[in-house]
């Protein structure tokens, strides 16, 4: 009983404080307090996450499951970054407290942590992000098959947008006089019509739905109508 009631009370109180502080500036510091509590919780929970990461990867290595070498690399990287980060190895001394090692900054590449971030993590992240271009191409290829009326409309719209984004769009339509009745067929006009009329209208409709859905969901949670997110133990 208490396992559900106490979390519900905390949830309701936090939710109400956040709403109140939005409309009443005098209570703004209360919401900052609630956010601070969450950050403390997240900090503590990070220990749980790190523990889980260690446990899972150690188990993979000890049982020599397929790909256990990757688990070993993960653990070595995790340990190295933890040591370098906590020891602030190579950190740039702080201007105000030059003799206090822990006050130093790790942002620059002179620091071990900054170096690893800049020259190891960032390139790896960029590599993963760059793959997106190929996924976009394969998804577009599949999505733009003219199977039915909706797909034909989608294909047509995509074709217009692709065409007007490249030089060919302007090249093909620049001959249409700007002050003529057919000026809307010029590349820049077509793009504006699609993005500012159709896309904006659709996007706003979705956004209004999301806003209302968020409000209704929050209300359900704060009032305890929806308790699915709480512990059922």
């Amino acid at each position: 009983m208490l396992q559900r009631t106490i979390p519900l009370l905390i949830l309701s109180a936090s939710g109400l404080v956040l709403i109140l502080s939005y409309f009443s500036p005098i209570t703004e510091t209360w919401s900052e307090q609630v956010v601070s509590w969450f950050n403390i919780l997240a900090g503590v929970a990070f220990v749980l996450g790190a523990g889980n990461l260690l446990a899972v990867n150690l188990e993979k290595i000890s049982s020599k499951r397929p790909g256990w070498a990757y688990a070993a690399i993960t653990l070595v990287s995790f340990g190295a970054m933890l040591v370098v980060g906590l020891s602030k190895w190579g950190s740039v001394p702080d201007a105000k407290y030059p003799n206090v090692h822990l006050a130093g900054s790790q942002d620059s590449t002179q620091a071990g942590y900054g170096w690893a971030y800049e020259y190891v993590l960032s390139p790896l992240t960029a590599t993963m992000f760059a793959l997106l271009a190929f996924y976009v191409a394969s998804a577009a290829f599949r999505a733009f098959r003219a199977k039915n009326l909706e797909a034909i409309l989608l294909l047509g719209t995509a074709f217009i947008i692709l065409l007007v984004q490249i030089a060919a769009g302007a090249f093909l339509t620049n001959w249409i006089p700007e002050d003529s009745f057919f000026a809307f067929l010029r590349a820049e006009s077509l793009k504006a019509i699609v993005t500012e009329v159709f896309q904006t209208a659709g996007m706003r409709a979705i956004l209004i739905g999301i806003a209302l859905g968020t409000a209704a969901t929050s209300l359900r949670l704060i009032l305890g109508i929806d308790r699915s997110a709480l512990s059922k133990g």
């Binding site: 005098i26 510091t29 998804a139 979705i206 209302l212 409000a215 209704a216 969901t217 512990s231």
Partner: protein, 419 residues
């Protein structure tokens, strides 16, 4: 005839006297010029007022510039705080800002003075900077003290909208409890949950559930975990293996609670495996790398993406597609919806995602809240229709009296709703 310089000019004493005379003339000229540059007229009506609708700490400095054409900027100084005077007793005034010509381009000027203590009086003084760089006399304001507002009136329209939506939700919840008929349209993506889990069971493969990359303070993560409860219960009933790799530690803990509860609800607590719900990394693309590799190696038969997603949405959905998994996605990130729609079998779009919890629970209270949400939608539709009609009239009859009137109404509506 040969020109000769007179002897007295060659005389060193005479040359020195000449140099002195020239120097004196230059200095005199400089002084005369300095005197000739007029001092700009001092600012008038310097006021210091509390900024409205805020939590304090901000004062608005306002002034009148008597001659904008002769002004190049303005210097604003504030009185030193008690703490600052404790450190340095001579620090009476502290320069806050030296604003350029834009600040004095018109007669009326203002500036937001931030970081002002709420518990002591503050004064400001301003001086107009002339075109020649001369400063006018400083004009001091009366003391003022910032205070926190009890209510933010600029957010009143939003409060009204929130009140209308909340009230309609509560009314519909009450109506639902009293037995009023409720009809909620079918949501294909949610109806397909059983089909997806069933397929995974038949194929002897895992079900992968990705609860987004945000923490528990994001409402989308909460909505995603609600759907997880249902997926986990179905998986427990079918005895399918459910894997939930998470991007945040708290989400991992909450997901474990959900899945464990679902196994209890399915009457199969012994099949709950905590080890299938893991924390991977907070790093967005590190998480994506893990998921992509995991999907390619393990080939789950069903993939659920429910939560907040950003650039990784298409990477995940395309990987899932390439392994032939049945995919169901749900997010409230409008920019990611097209990717999910293109690559997944079913997608919960925006509000459908938030309605999932109520829809899956089947409880009348929760279904009532969805109906209440529709009242908010009707309100939005009415306002949009009125605005569209008025804006059209204003555009058609731009010069006529009706057009001018409707234009003013549209402007008022826009201003009221913060547009």
């Amino acid at each position: 005839m040969q020109f000769r310089i007179p002897e007295f000019i060659r005389n060193r004493a005479f040359a020195s006297a000449c140099r002195l005379a020239v120097g004196a003339v230059i200095m005199l000229a400089a002084n005369l010029t300095a005197v000739a540059a007029p001092m700009p007229p001092a600012a008038e009506n310097v006021r210091l007022d509390d900024a409205p609708d805020d939590a304090g700490g901000v004062l608005i400095v306002s002034w009148k510039t008597p001659d904008p054409t002769a002004s190049a900027g303005i210097v604003i100084e504030r009185s030193a705080t008690a703490a600052e005077q404790e450190k340095d007793a001579n620090a009476l005034w502290i320069e806050v800002e030296r604003l350029g010509r834009d600040a004095v381009a018109g007669v009326d000027g203002s500036y937001s003075l931030k970081g002002v203590p709420n518990d002591e009086d503050t004064r400001v003084r301003v001086s107009i900077l002339g075109i020649d760089g001369e400063l006018s006399e400083f004009v001091e304001s009366a003391p003022a003290r910032p205070s926190a507002s009890l209510f933010s009136f600029k957010r009143l329209p939003l409060l009204i909208v929130v009140a209308v939506v909340s009230l309609s939700v509560l009314v519909w919840v009450a109506l639902a409890r009293s037995g009023a008929p409720l009809k909620i349209r079918r949501i294909a993506a949610l109806d397909a949950v059983d089909e997806a889990v069933g397929r995974a069971t038949e194929m002897g493969r895992a079900v992968l559930f990705v609860p987004g990359i945000q923490d528990m303070n994001d409402i989308q993560t909460i909505a995603g975990l609600t759907v997880l409860g249902r997926v986990a219960q179905t998986a427990a009933e079918y005895d399918a293996r459910l894997e939930v790799p998470t991007c945040r530690s708290i989400v991992m803990t909450a997901a474990r609670e959900q899945v464990q509860a679902a196994h209890h609800a399915a009457g199969r607590p012994e099949t709950y495996a905590e080890g299938n719900i893991n924390y991977i990394t907070d790093e967005q693309f590190g998480y994506v790398a893990y998921l992509s590799g995991h999907m390619m190696r393990e080939k789950p038969a069903a993939c659920f993406y429910m939560g907040a997603f950003y650039a990784e949405s298409l990477v995940l959905a395309e990987n899932g597609n390439s392994i032939g998994a049945i995919q169901i996605a749900g997010t409230a990130e409008p920019s990611q919806l097209p990717f999910f729609v293109a690559a997944c079998d079913y997608t919960l779009i925006g509000e459908e995602f938030f309605a999932a919890s109520a829809y899956l629970s089947g409880e009348r209270d929760q279904l009532g809240s969805i109906k209440g949400q529709d009242v908010g939608k009707a309100f939005a539709i009415v306002v949009i229709l009125i605005g569209t009609i008025l804006a059209t009239i204003a555009a058609v009859d731009a010069d006529g009296s009706v057009g001018v009137w409707t234009e003013s109404v549209v402007a008022s509506l826009r201003s009221f709703f913060g547009g």
